[in-house]
Symmetry: C2
Subunit: 371 residues, 2 copies
Amino acid sequence: MSKAKAVPPGAVIGILGGGQLGRMLALAAARLGLRTHVYAPEEDSPAFAVAHAHTRAAWDDTAALSRFAENVDVVTYEFENVPLQAVALLARMRPVRPGERALAVAQDRWREKTFAAGLGITTPPFANIETEGDLAAAARAVPLPAVLKTRRFGYDGKGQVMLRPGDDLAMAWNTLGRVPCLLEGFVDFACEASVLVARGMDGVVVAYDVPRNEHERHVLRRSHVPSGLAPRTELRAVEIGRTLAGSLDHVGVLAVELFVVRQADGTETLVFNEMAPRVHNSGHWTEAACDMSQFEAHVRAICGWPLWPPERHHDCVMTNILGHEAKEWMRWAAEPGVVLHLYGKGTIREGRKMGHVTRLLPSHGAKTRQA
Amino acid sequence: MSKAKAVPPGAVIGILGGGQLGRMLALAAARLGLRTHVYAPEEDSPAFAVAHAHTRAAWDDTAALSRFAENVDVVTYEFENVPLQAVALLARMRPVRPGERALAVAQDRWREKTFAAGLGITTPPFANIETEGDLAAAARAVPLPAVLKTRRFGYDGKGQVMLRPGDDLAMAWNTLGRVPCLLEGFVDFACEASVLVARGMDGVVVAYDVPRNEHERHVLRRSHVPSGLAPRTELRAVEIGRTLAGSLDHVGVLAVELFVVRQADGTETLVFNEMAPRVHNSGHWTEAACDMSQFEAHVRAICGWPLWPPERHHDCVMTNILGHEAKEWMRWAAEPGVVLHLYGKGTIREGRKMGHVTRLLPSHGAKTRQA
């Protein structure tokens, strides 16, 4: 990495998307002396309040996008469903990191799975369904139970239908609006895990410890670190993250969600679920338990700053605060060793991610807690 | 503490002063879901960029101060030289924490030393000089070498004259403009230390580990934690912090700078130097090495949130980045375990505080650093 390429302190990072991930990126950037300009269509975007500047405009507002690009030095995004046209426009004016390739792959479940499988990473059996004519072949290729998922714009369990033996694939496809879908064999997993790696412009990849993740109603509820998985399973998870990041020529944080399947003899195998070319909910604990958070790692990477291997100083459990649980903030605030993070969202909605807490577990390395 | 009194997430903290301390308070508040409104006269105030709102106006602009008060839920300050008239106006409209008393005492070196001495805390010999007539008595009470300091508005060695045996006190007083001064016996200290405590609205006081501080040209250069001082010296330092905070009915962080004098037999005694009713440069390491930073502790206290004893997970050394050293940011950014904080100041001036780094020392408690 040449120093000349680095985006220096004082420069402006353009962030596409104004949710909590954008907000946490902006806070991490501020600590490094970098400014942020957040672009989002939603009026109540929580990232606006902590950014140096913001643009509230639609994704297809080319004039607003151009002005935004003129005012920033590098562009990144907090979610992978940014319209590719917007990114393409910005990329003609400013570097966009991670680039269009990572975005294009991550936006499409079929491309994503095909890409991972092509790298020798185990995936569930899967088949592409674009037309009525694809249904029969898909049904043959993927035994039920299986999950039918829209190829695009799915998240937190949205755009999915579970198919059990005897269910009708054509009917399920109609339910999802006959849009391009992926039929994916159901994985009978013992638990879920993820790997978070950050890759710099110089190709250096650093990895965080692997969290074990618990979901409730398709939404992440808790991440546990350490994972309790076999050391070789964790090593394989990191290898998967490195392989994907390298093959995509990714710059920034890449998160990969994995199913852990336990064989009869107790050995664990990892099955690729999906990836996110961005900071990820299952890495929120890094801000409380590591000397470099995933948010800082992402900012460093996209700015061409050096990355070094983050050190974790505590075991921990990260728990999402969802919907009306946010009203109980005082309960968490009162608990020693619980690092509270609230996203400043004005409106509570059922299941909405309002914040998270990282509970730091008693550590032999702790120096002192003064009374 | 009653829950009813707490300033809840979503509320607005008004911060007087827009420097790096205000900026770091704003960043800590944001993580707790609180908004901030920064009031400062200087156009290039680094806190403006991370606050939800800001007012750029003079300290005597009563209309601007009133509007500011209307838009915030609680007021705090990042520096103790906020004009008392401004604070008095605000205090009629909103709670100001820490209150006017802490501010009035901390703004005046004579009141401050008198207050500390009255609590049985060792101070250097000192005398008040308000008129020509006070000079002779002061010279008798305080043997040279001594330091003549303006009672008000001194910081980082400004407004001070060193007097050695044979020097003329009257001439020194003329040099300082014949304003009210304090003549203070020079303390032949072995080193300097400070204590940082946070006191809640419920009277609960929590303390950080005591840093040992190195100054260069009257400006803090480095803080070392642990201090290397005798355990009983550290305990006494914390006791001094608790006593002062309690006696002032202080709410928020209080920092006390202390001289450590080493006797011939090796025992250490602590001599009060000065105090700051706010977050303090010698506590910047807490953001990198503790589970609750001094900034969060201050925000919690002034908002009536619970405080719990912070735990330090690493030994560390905090170093200020001064003036043109900021150009060497890449050197620090590249070093593993060095937590970099830059203040986003656009203009470099000789000796200006541009940022700081906290070097985390290898810890037995560290879990893993993934390669």
